[in-house]
Symmetry: C2
Subunit: 334 residues, 2 copies
């Protein structure tokens, strides 16, 4: 699914106060900085992306083509107080790009304003129609999937960083997005969490089609096999991706599933075995080839020590892709 | 999700020639015979349920309240040649009950005829709205889930037969349906294959709510952990059901996944271990307590021998619920 997102974007932050709610905006800023002209904050917003503050009119003058909803509030709906400013943005000549569950066209004020201003309302979190059932048949080319001990441990950033590292070294590779932020960054992909359950593995097969034998698809993982709500999505994505290689993503120090504290994360060796066992159904040679450790809460020194420990413990190269050179992972694949 | 299906039904078989396409009609005939007044076959139909052939008018005279679409043609859509007869049935005073993916209201000829005749169009395969994410929290009461080595090995029939066996012996139990045929038989349930992937485990939690401590929910399984297209649905249903007990269903002699012949079915011991391992995430004590063997292709003698072999091999009571008394399974649970 390729999208033609009108760029560059003005990143909309609404009136949020929790930086974690700005995941989408942060992702765009980090991975597509040249497509972000500025941030747009309503009164009360205390989150700062470090980009110039702009009104829609100023953003249009700076070349912006769309407002990108950079926040994911609880429940996935637009706050009522945001509608009127967004109507003004449409009137100023900006389209709106959103990854929320809520459908933009379903909001009469926005759909009217978009038609009047001849601007687009683009919902990224819509599954393509006519996804086939998975066939289980092998495809040409190579695939790597990032998998996690939990949600929000760095699967998207790891995949983006690794795809970039391969590209920079001249190895043909493509980042494949499976969530709304990744899709906005890549300009395409399939939002796995919007696919009807029978078709998850089929959607994953569509996402990474036949390719040249030396080409690597680097696929953004979702959820975790150890998560009581999301393991099904994780397994379907794993089976349909048929990965040759997996990178296990973990956050240093996390011992239980976030917001499900009764669910302990197994030790990393067990996680590795379980992912390899599950992946073997559709690709017998699937192997975890490295561990990606999110060490953002640690000092440089501590991060180094913990990565060395995990490498020792698992026998696999453990890196933090936000800090380390990824040569050891590239070496395993190429 | 409780449904109020207008009964009794006239079972519609269209013009099918493959008995396997009549799965829904056969299920209703076998499990709700008192709700089936007859069968309605169009010219060319060679499948016979052994029920009286009736026109819609004759069925109305016999007390029927609805036509139940008893066939599941490839692609899940109504054949164009069936529309005009179904319009006549509505005009005769029958509602229509369907479990196809295709929405009946979306067919203008049917929706017009239904309004004119004041009859209902009931789509059973619609997921309820506002399913929450799974919480992972334990619920009161006991649960048994039927799981399979493959699709179409008897998970629904096993659950129905076992729920009935418990009830007949005075043990409180409820059959919980997860597919369209089961839902039509039970008059309620959740069609798992229509739920958006993020919410499968949540839907399974909703399906079997808190109950009295001695009460058993007997939950209809879906798919198989060893199926390259459906394993995700199987895992989500398993995690959300939090079963205390599992019955492993298998068809005698089947060695590979149906229509996916490259995928071998593991030996039964391995299947048992894998299901127990997966189930342990949300219920540590989950155990496979028996094997349900579909021996429909075998003689009585052969069936007995094979069941004895499997009992020996697995250490678990192996029965064919269409042939055997289920006392050995009841004994394990009570």
């Amino acid at each position: 699914m390729e999208l033609d997102l009108p760029a560059p974007h003005l990143l909309f932050l609404g009136d949020i106060t929790n930086p974690l709610d700005a995941k989408t905006a942060v992702g765009l800023r980090d991975w597509q900085p040249e497509r972000c002209v500025g941030q747009w904050r309503l009164p009360g917003c205390t989150v700062d992306l470090g980009l110039p503050d702009m009104t829609p009119a100023a953003a249009v003058a700076a070349g912006a083509k769309s407002v990108l909803i950079g926040v994911a509030p609880l429940g996935g709906a637009l706050a009522p107080s945001w509608i009127s400013p967004l109507v003004d943005a449409l009137a100023s000549g900006l389209s709106i790009v959103s990854g929320l569950h809520q459908n933009l066209e379903g909001l009469p004020a926005l759909s009217r304003a978009a038609r009047a201003a001849r601007q687009q309302l683009i919902d990224v979190r819509v599954a393509p129609e006519n996804i086939p059932l998975a066939s289980g048949q092998r495809r040409t080319g190579k695939r790597l999937l990032t998998v996690g001990t939990d949600c929000c441990v760095g699967k998207k950033y790891t995949a983006l960083a690794f795809a970039k590292a391969l590209k920079n070294r001249g190895f043909p590779s493509t980042f494949r997005a499976t969530g709304q932020t990744g899709i906005m960054i890549a300009g395409g992909g399939i939002p796995m969490d919007a696919v009807v359950s029978d078709f998850i593995a089929g959607a994953a097969e569509c996402l990474s089609p036949n390719a040249a034998e030396a080409h690597w698809d680097i696929i953004e993982g979702q959820g975790s096999l150890f998560h009581p709500a999301y393991a099904a999505v994780t397994l379907g994505l794993l089976h349909g991706s048929q990965p040759d290689a997996l990178l296990l993503c973990h956050e240093a120090g996390r011992t239980a599933i976030d917001e499900y504290e009764a669910f302990e994360i197994p030790d990393l060796k067990t996680c590795i075995n379980r992912y390899e066992q599950a992946a073997s159904l559709t690709n017998e040679v699937a192997r975890v080839v490295g561990v990606s450790l999110n060490t953002s809460t640690l000092s440089t020194e501590e991060a180094k020590r913990v990565c060395a420990e995990v490498s020792e413990q698992t026998g696999l190269p453990c890196l933090d892709p936000m800090r380390d050179d990824l040569a050891p992972w590239v070496a395993v694949l190429t």
